[in-house]
């Protein structure tokens, strides 16, 4: 049976513009959440987020190309370049046909549509930029990444709200395992931290005005983040043949649907997804040494996820942390950014903390690696994503 490994990783997020910087922030327990810098901030109730500050696309991309790149595409391109650089693949024509891209994004080019709506509806302008459609389409980032890296196999994007990245990575894993591709760039990208994006979220009343404190008794909701993370998934024999450095093995993937509510999560659906990932990976629950939680810091998710984890892992589950406490909830990109915490655990023996854990909540898990990173070297990890609409996607990684 074909096996799949990770040979490259890249990211931009509120903590850092690369994987090394993100790992340092995880170790240090540094938060990227702070006051937002946005136009019309005074019209927003929620004024905090994990924003990528001083992003200067003119310094990163040629002007002609930039006209086509929404902010989310820019994030994906930078993360993808870092991943490909690390992987060191030499792409000949044959390999390029067997290499593709799958990215998750919840909103796609929202910055572009936000700006276009402002121009047309607020400013009464007669036209919007001709590239508005190719910029805002959900698949734009995946397309541009395939173009930038010369990948001519399966390329598309996936939408499953906050589980998008995990579904994207899961599908990439299955494509390679099933033989349709040998290399896949996969992950997610999101840039929803615009006035319009936040205004839309405010109405649902699940955002915190104060901070992201997953599993804490005093948690009061989610904090939005943004960014991208992209990985090079590669067939094991292919990676070994070229002497690639293997970061971890993608051992299994489980996806389920709650078929219950459009916003509230179900512990049953989440538990099934974790079990499915374990079964796919051929791993027992006791072999998992770390779980990166969905851990949005909402009342509902953290309770539901804790119940699900206890159901699958029993009374002494492995340590669980939510790095959303540091990089915010990056929506369709969040699962990919969070997979980095699994790589940190497997490769460098450090469990990223859950910040803001001020008091335990009896209905939540006890060991959430509270406030400080911990030295521990798991052999296998799970990464959870439990999205609106009951969409659950869980990835299992293992040290090789």
């Amino acid at each position: 049976m074909r096996r799949v490994v990770i040979t490259g990783a890249g990211t931009v997020n509120a903590l850092a513009r690369d994987v090394r910087g993100t790992f340092e922030a995880f170790r240090a327990g540094r938060s990227g959440i702070g006051p937002l810098e946005l136009p019309d901030l005074e019209r927003l109730q929620i004024r905090i987020g994990a924003q990528i500050r001083d992003w200067q696309p003119e310094a990163l991309f040629a002007k002609a190309k930039l006209a086509l790149y929404d902010r989310f595409t820019q994030f994906a391109l930078v993360a993808g370049a870092e991943a490909m650089d690390q992987a060191g693949l030499v792409l000949n024509e044959a390999l390029s046909h067997r290499a593709g891209v799958i990215l998750g994004s919840a909103g796609g080019g929202l910055t572009t549509s936000d700006a276009a709506y402002r121009e047309v509806y607020q400013e009464g302008r007669a036209r919007v930029h001709p590239f508005t459609v190719p910029r805002l389409m959900n698949s734009a980032a995946a397309s541009h990444l395939s173009m930038a890296q010369g990948l001519k196999g399966p390329v598309f994007s996936v939408a499953s709200a906050c589980a998008g990245s995990n579904h994207a990575m899961g599908l990439a894993f299955q494509l390679i395992r099933g033989g349709a591709a040998d290399v896949m760039l996969c992950g997610g990208a999101e840039a929803m931290l615009s006035f319009g994006g936040l205004k839309a979220w405010e109405g649902l009343r699940v955002m915190s005005p104060t901070g992201c404190r997953p599993f804490s008794a005093d948690r009061d909701g989610m904090v939005m983040g943004e960014g991208a993370a992209v990985f090079v998934f590669e067939e094991l024999a292919h990676a070994r043949a070229r002497g690639a450095e293997i970061l971890a093995e993608v051992a299994g993937f489980g996806m389920t649907a709650d078929a219950a509510e459009i916003v509230l999560p179900s512990a049953e659906g989440a538990a099934r997804a974790m079990r499915a990932a374990l079964q796919d990976a051929g791993l027992r629950p006791d072999e998992i040494g770390y779980i990166n939680a969905h851990g949005t810091a909402t009342l509902a998710n953290d309770r539901s996820e804790s119940t699900a984890i206890r159901e699958v892992f029993g009374d002494s589950p492995p340590p669980v942390s939510s790095t959303k406490s540091m990089h915010g909830h990056a929506m369709g990109a969040t699962g990919a950014i969070e997979l980095l915490a699994c790589l940190l655990a497997l490769r460098e023996g450090v469990l990223a903390p859950t910040l803001g854990h001020n008091a335990p909540d009896g209905e939540c898990l006890a060991d959430v690696v509270a406030n400080q990173a911990r030295v521990a070297k798991p052999r296998a990890t799970l990464s959870n994503a439990f999205a609106f609409g009951g969409l659950n996607a869980v990835l299992a990684l293992k040290a090789l």
Binding site: Q45, G203, L204, R205, V206, M207, S208, P209, R219, D220, G221, E261, I262, V263, L264, A297, T298, L299, A300
Partner: protein, 86 residues
């Protein structure tokens, strides 16, 4: 219409009942309102009265708007109206 009447009519519309069927002691459970319905009521109240009503679904008891009973909702909204009035 008084503020109370407006509030009752908004809640009635959400529950798809007539105003006369509502009781001040009614709770979200007795009215068949889930968390999504409460958030919609909040939106309708804000739009109708033209004010922002603080409410966080993660900390529903933490003041702002009290959905525990219809009476509590009405007095909470009236308190906000009084604050907002010049």
């Amino acid at each position: 219409m008084t503020a109370e009447a407006r509030i009752l009519s908004i809640v009635a519309a959400q529950c798809r009942r007539s105003v006369t069927e509502l009781r001040l002691s009614d709770t979200p459970e007795t009215l068949g309102l889930d968390s999504m319905a409460l958030v919609e009521i909040l939106f309708a109240l804000e739009e109708d009265f033209g004010l922002s009503l603080p409410f966080n679904a993660n900390t529903p008891e933490a003041g702002g708007v009290d959905f525990s009973t219809l009476a509590a909702l009405i007095s909470g909204v009236e308190a906000h109206l009084a604050e907002a009035a010049p």
